[in-house]
């Protein structure tokens, strides 16, 4: 294999941009902290911490999706992705960073007397029969325990997968070693997927997001959060893939791989829409006040614009633009769509979380975009750094040939 560019070198521009983004973000954080975070107005404080919270949750989930995606492909004995396998691996290496930020922030929020989560306010819990009834589940120690366990095991099990993958760099594997390598990969991937299924089904959606409206619940909410972060995560993988291709790396990955990533983006956008609609229509049809309280201010209040823009970006655009085969094989179009979808699902997380924290007043402002730039900078910086550490192609992976001859 005549590979001239085995290792990734961070281009100077990439480094500069990640520093600029982080600098803008930190500046926004400082200004926001003094103008809003220290504000005498309780609501302003909530908005400030809520903004950082939804950004950190979003970035944690979309980077963690990379590892889930890898594990799901490993369990499915997929071979086509081996040529670009190092990208999701590098992205998932950002999980410890975002996990630490999100974990500390979430735990600080439930321990503070800010009461972003209404169930942390004990006076209200005692006065309210519904909250008192849910107190066995929605309480601070339980929340803390699950948050720490969730993020901690995501980090540990992800690290295990990445470490295992290193073996594919060392030397050619004889048949027995190859079989054992695949088997150990399968076991590790199964462990991650099992833990991910449990936590992405309850901890991230129920504790972190749905309990902002502790009176309301939806059985589709876990799926909704997962689908939204999954499309965002695929968008990030696709963007890094195209970036590396542009810089002349990954010569074994071709348009066929891009086509498959495009299919993933398209298919899961439709999946997200299905979940969105299933959640919306049942509540709309039944029209029960305790259920419609989630949608009332989103559909008819100040969030109306964001709410429908969300649907246009994440459903109408992909279905119209990504449907045809030539579109999924076009680098420019897929880049545009991946960026649009990453932004779209960021907006989705915005309305999911901020729509509950500040239902009366829409809060989208310079703060949101500044914090977004902070997290985007951290992501680019961390992923770029991780990509340099290993060979970009796992050249002795038993399934590599399947990826080279991949044809859709």
């Amino acid at each position: 294999m005549a590979s001239t560019k085995t290792y990734f070198e961070i281009p100077a521009k990439m480094k500069t941009w990640s520093y600029i983004l982080m600098a803008v973000g930190i500046l926004t954080f400082i200004i926001g902290f003094f103008t809003k975070g220290m504000s005498a107005d309780h609501e302003e404080q909530k908005v400030f911490w809520g903004t950082i919270m939804y950004n950190s949750i979003y970035f944690l989930l979309i980077t963690n999706i990379s590892m889930f995606w890898l594990c799901a492909l490993t369990l499915g004995m997929a071979g086509w992705h081996i040529a670009l396998r190092r990208i999701p691996e590098a992205i998932s290496a950002a999980v410890p960073v975002f996990g630490t930020i999100a974990g500390i922030l979430l735990i600080a929020i439930v321990f503070s007397n800010l009461h972003i989560y209404e169930w942390t306010n004990m006076e209200e819990v005692h006065a309210n029969a519904a909250l008192a009834h849910k107190h066995g589940f929605l309480n601070v120690p339980f929340f803390t325990l699950w948050t720490v366990a969730t993020i901690g095991l995501w980090i540990l099990l992800g690290k295990r997968m990445r470490k295992l993958s290193e073996e594919a760099d060392n030397e050619k594997m004889p048949l027995n070693d190859g079989q054992s390598f695949i088997w150990r990969n399968t076991v590790s991937a199964a462990m991650f997927v099992a833990w991910f299924a449990l936590t992405a089904g309850c901890v991230t959606p129920w504790f972190w997001q749905m309990s902002l409206n502790a009176h309301w619940y939806s059985t589709m909410y876990s799926w909704y959060t997962f689908a939204s972060s999954f499309v965002g995560g695929l968008g990030i993988i696709t963007l890094f893939f195209i970036f590396l291709k542009n810089k002349g790396y990954l010569e074994l990955a071709t348009q066929e791989h891009l086509h498959d990533l495009g299919k993933f983006l398209f298919a899961f956008s439709i999946f997200w829409t299905y979940i969105w609609f299933a959640q919306y229509m049942l509540i709309w049809y039944a029209n029960i006040p305790e259920e419609t309280l989630y949608f009332k201010h989103r559909v008819q209040g100040e969030y109306k614009g964001v709410f429908f823009l969300n649907l246009v970006i994440n459903f109408v655009c992909p279905i119209l633009i990504l449907m045809s085969r030539p579109a999924k094989r076009n680098y420019t179009l897929v880049t545009f769509m991946a960026m649009l979808l990453v932004f779209g699902h960021w907006l989705d997380f915005y309305q999911m979380i901020m729509g509950s924290i500040s239902p009366e007043k829409i809060t989208l402002s310079w703060l949101d975009f500044g914090i977004l730039s902070l997290f985007a900078g951290i992501l680019i910086f961390t992923v770029g750094k991780t990509l340099t550490k290993r060979q970009l192609t796992p050249k002795y992976h038993p399934f590599l040939k399947e990826s080279i001859v991949h044809h859709t």
Binding site: Y280, M281, N287, R325, H407
Partner: protein
């Protein structure tokens, strides 16, 4: 329909088929069709076939289904026979979505099956010539059409070193015709002249 002359080359491995297809096209012969026991990735590309228009047709059928469903329901529930269900507005879009979705899928699916049959000329009693009885079993069969300008002897020689396991010359119907296999059974072509 016209009878035409063919040189029929059979291969027992797709690894021989692909180079042969490339060579035949490069030499400028006209490939009538290639028959294989199973779908082969990339063969359509190697044969230089244009992309099928089946998916465009599918999209049009789908859109037809969408507009039929939405149009009908909107007309019925807003102007033809407006009624109040569950206190919802007459134009209750979310309630229309599942039916619209179903009709889109139905129109697209049925339309595409029928278009596929049309494109492949598949229908009851439509008969086509079978170049080799084993073409659906274990042989990869390439039928090369002999146009007036084709030198048939040269073409036969051309196949000698291409890994062909069976080579023959046939005169057969190029298109399709109405008929019944049980009445005019002629799977083994008696007019075929075996070469190899």
């Amino acid at each position: 329909m016209a009878k035409k002359k063919f040189v029929v080359a059979s291969f027992d491995d797709e690894e021989n088929l692909f180079p042969a297809v490339h060579a035949v096209r490069k030499a400028g012969y006209k490939i009538h069709d290639v028959y294989t026991p199973f779908p082969i990735h990339g063969l359509d590309h190697a044969l230089g076939l244009r992309e099928t228009s089946l998916h465009t047709a599918g999209f049009i059928y789908g859109i037809t289904g969408t507009s039929t469903a939405l149009g009908c329901m909107t007309w019925i529930f807003t102007s033809d026979w407006p009624q109040i269900y569950d206190g919802k507005p007459h134009f209750a879009l979310p309630a229309f979505v599942p039916i619209t979705f179903e009709l889109t899928v139905l129109f697209a699916a049925v339309g595409m099956v029928m278009t596929f049959c049309w494109l492949c000329q598949l229908a009851p009693f439509v008969k086509k010539h079978i170049f080799h009885p084993r073409q659906t079993d274990d042989l990869f069969v390439m039928a090369v059409e002999c146009t007036p300008s084709t030198n048939v002897e040269e073409l036969k020689d051309f196949f000698k070193d291409k890994g062909t396991v069976h080579l023959e010359q046939q005169e057969a119907e190029a298109g399709w015709w109405w008929g019944r296999f049980d009445r005019e059974q002629q799977i083994i072509n008696e007019n075929a002249v075996e070469v190899l």
